[in-house]
């Protein structure tokens, strides 16, 4: 059963396509990832879904509410966390949560218990009297999540919640999202980090306002018609700028988490020839091995092949 249905959504900003005919649907109780580089249209999409900006064409339905006719119903039944930290820096953790509790009309024991639940669940109990301005990036994001959850929304929209957050906090944040999913909350999360794709049940890859692919991560990885080889050095990170290689069988090379990935067409080149190419092309590496393709590999493949078609 789909709880969010988006059909043919388009948005232009002074002639520039921010979104073009974006369609997708999200099943209840799943985590849906919106993955793309900066400027891909993630925030525009999020803001249209949260009724913050109007779309040029297309429709959105969230929990059966229409995004233009039932604005108030959508706003009071979703939880939204904007990309930029948008809570009050001069209010304490508890005061921020209480403010949103009041705004959403939560009172009495529900209010008291709700705050306690969120503080312990986000592990912010110890910092409840600290002003938001003095929290670390990860703690701020958790506080923002608490404020978005105070009214027990069924759908949670998170716009790049882990951007600018340290790796430990990112890990913790994704665990929190799994907990929320267990409670039956549907989560839409956008991210520029490809490695976060694997926590999603389904995802879309968005580039320059268009959806390049969508589906579950494992089946998406199968879409990659090429093999991926990883060039690495355990002592130091190796680096090269992403490039399309016009050499027989080799498609492209790009950096990936301190290693270099080489994408090759198995029909034109075999593993040994790839090794020969890498020996000739890069210095200072130790090993070359074939790896299972990741969403990042698919992303580079999709982006480079579309950009090649439409320069």
């Amino acid at each position: 059963m789909s709880i969010v249905i988006v059909e043919n959504l388009s948005k232009n900003y002074s002639g520039e396509h921010a979104l073009r005919t974006v369609s997708f649907s999200v099943k209840k109780g799943t985590i849906y990832g919106i993955i793309g580089a900066d400027g891909a249209g993630k925030t525009t999409l999020m803001r249209i879904l949260t009724t913050l900006i109007p779309a040029d064409s297309g429709t959105v339905s969230i929990m059966g509410y229409h995004f233009k006719k039932d604005v108030q119903s959508i706003r009071s039944s979703i939880g939204y966390m904007p990309q930029r930290f948008s809570l009050y820096q001069d209010l304490s953790v508890k005061e921020n949560i209480l403010f949103f509790a009041d705004v959403f009309g939560i009172s009495g024991t529900e209010r008291k218990e709700g705050i306690q639940r969120l503080l312990s669940f986000s592990r912010l109990e110890k910092f409840k009297n600290r002003r938001a301005a003095h929290l670390s990036g990860g703690m701020k994001q958790k506080l923002a999540l608490c404020c978005a959850l105070i009214h027990k929304p069924q759908v949670l929209l998170l716009d790049e919640p882990t951007t600018g957050v340290d790796p430990v906090s990112r890990k913790e944040f994704s665990e929190i999202l799994f907990d929320l999913k267990k409670q039956g909350i549907t989560i839409l999360v956008s991210t520029p980090y490809m490695d976060e794709a694997d926590m999603c049940d389904e995802l879309m890859i968005i580039h320059k306002g268009s959806v390049l692919r969508n589906g579950c991560p494992d089946s998406l990885k199968m879409d990659l018609p090429y093999r991926v080889y990883q060039v690495e050095n355990r002592q130091q990170t190796v680096h090269c700028p992403p490039a399309v290689i016009k050499r027989k069988g080799i498609r492209m090379v790009y950096p990936s988490a301190g290693t270099i990935h080489v994408m090759a067409d198995p029909e034109q080149i075999n593993a040994e020839e790839v090794f020969e190419f890498t020996y000739a092309a890069f210095s200072g590496f130790e090993t070359v091995k074939e790896v299972n393709p990741s969403i990042e590999d698919l992303f580079f493949y999709l982006v480079f092949s579309t950009d090649e078609l439409k320069p």
Binding site: T51, Q72, S86, F99
Partner: protein, 368 residues
């Protein structure tokens, strides 16, 4: 609705109380401005410097000079025997009046029949002051002279004049109520114009919009804390006016509080309207000055009487809230006027506030 409104009010109060700079502006500025304007805006003339030209060291003139010097309005800054370049005296010294007695002054005076000529030159670069000086000096010179000669003026008409409501004709009594109108407007409009733009700048508005809050709740919730603060400012201004300038409230304090609140609402709604239009705090500040300060000082009757304005500007002055509040507050403080005489002004102020708040709510878009 009440809970949501309460949430916004509480949040705004916390913002204000935790921001020392804003708090200082709110509490200290009115008092500082009272002193600045109160002393700078006075039209009372005290110790205007006067130069006496007394060619013969005439004893009669010397006596006159001493009496002029003793008056509160004039101060003799020198007596000289002759002067070839009068203009140089005005240019070089801070002299406002030069009074040249002829060498034959005491003879002329005691001659009987013919009038004794005296030349009086007045610095006219500030025409208002020049006219006041002229009238005052003419009066003082003849009354002192008559007194010295022991002559009583002939009783043709006996004018029993008495100036009501400001018997000593102190400028402060006229300006302090006006200042209250100006300062309340400046503080209220400026502070509210910053509140929504600040949320726009910090990005917090995005979170507020994705909530069941209605624009009306956001705007009213933001106005209420500033009504309280501006009320405190009003009390501070009254206390300063009383202690420093000796202004007493002739009318009812309760009625003053009521009308003051209505006026504060009108001022805050101007600020609110600005903040729904401006996108940054800086922009809001730039808009507040010309929209509030200039019309209020120039078109409200604060300094220049409304009757001396050209007809087009007089029409504009009707939409300036301070125009109406000045009539109210001068009435209450100086004359002790009540609601029966001032209901129209109050109704107009209410109308202006409701109109501005309605426009702000309409302009405050529900999306980014």
């Amino acid at each position: 609705m009440i809970q949501r409104l309460y949430a916004i009010v509480l949040k705004e109060l916390r913002h204000i109380l935790r921001d020392n700079q804003t708090l200082f502006i709110i509490l200290a500025m009115p008092v500082i401005m009272m002193f600045l304007y109160g002393y700078a805006l006075t039209m009372d003339i005290i110790d205007a410097p006067i130069l006496i030209i007394n060619p013969n060291h005439d004893a009669y003139v010397n006596e006159l000079t001493a009496r002029i010097d003793a008056s509160a309005m004039f101060k003799v800054c020198g007596t000289i025997k002759s002067c070839s370049d009068i203009q140089a005296q005005f240019r070089r010294h801070h002299v406002k009046i030069i009074c040249r007695f002829p060498a034959s002054f005491s003879i002329d005076l005691n001659n009987g029949g013919t009038a004794a000529p005296v030349q009086v030159l007045i610095d006219g670069s500030d025409p208002n002051t020049a006219i006041i000086l002229k009238n005052a000096f003419e009066g003082i010179l003849s009354s002192i002279t008559l007194d010295m000669m022991g002559i009583k003026p002939a009783d043709i008409i006996i004018v029993n004049q008495r100036i009501l409501y400001n018997q000593e004709q102190k400028s402060a009594l006229f300006f302090v109520p006006g200042l209250m109108a100006i300062i309340l407007l400046m503080i209220s409009a400026l502070l509210t114009s910053l509140t929504i733009t600040r949320e726009k700048e910090l990005g917090t508005l995005e979170q507020l919009l994705v909530s069941p809050l209605h624009p009306f709740e956001i705007i009213l919730g933001k106005i209420i804390p500033y009504v309280i603060l501006s009320g405190i400012d009003g009390v501070l201004i009254l206390i300063t006016g009383n202690l420093a300038f000796g202004v007493n409230v002739a009318g009812s304090l309760t009625f003053l509080a009521l009308t003051g609140t209505i006026y504060i609402f009108a001022s805050l709604s101007i600020g609110m309207l600005i903040s729904t239009v401006a996108t940054t705090q800086q922009q809001a500040m730039m808009m507040v000055m010309p929209i509030t300060m200039l019309p209020t000082i120039i078109l409200s009757g604060f300094i220049f009487p409304l009757s001396s304005l050209p007809i087009a500007l007089r029409l504009v002055s009707n939409i300036v809230p301070a125009t109406w509040f000045l009539q109210i507050i001068r009435g209450i403080i100086l004359k002790g006027t009540g609601i029966r005489e001032l209901w129209l002004q109050m109704a107009i102020l209410c109308g202006i506030s409701f109109f501005l708040i309605a426009v702000s709510v309409k302009r405050f878009r529900g999306h980014l």
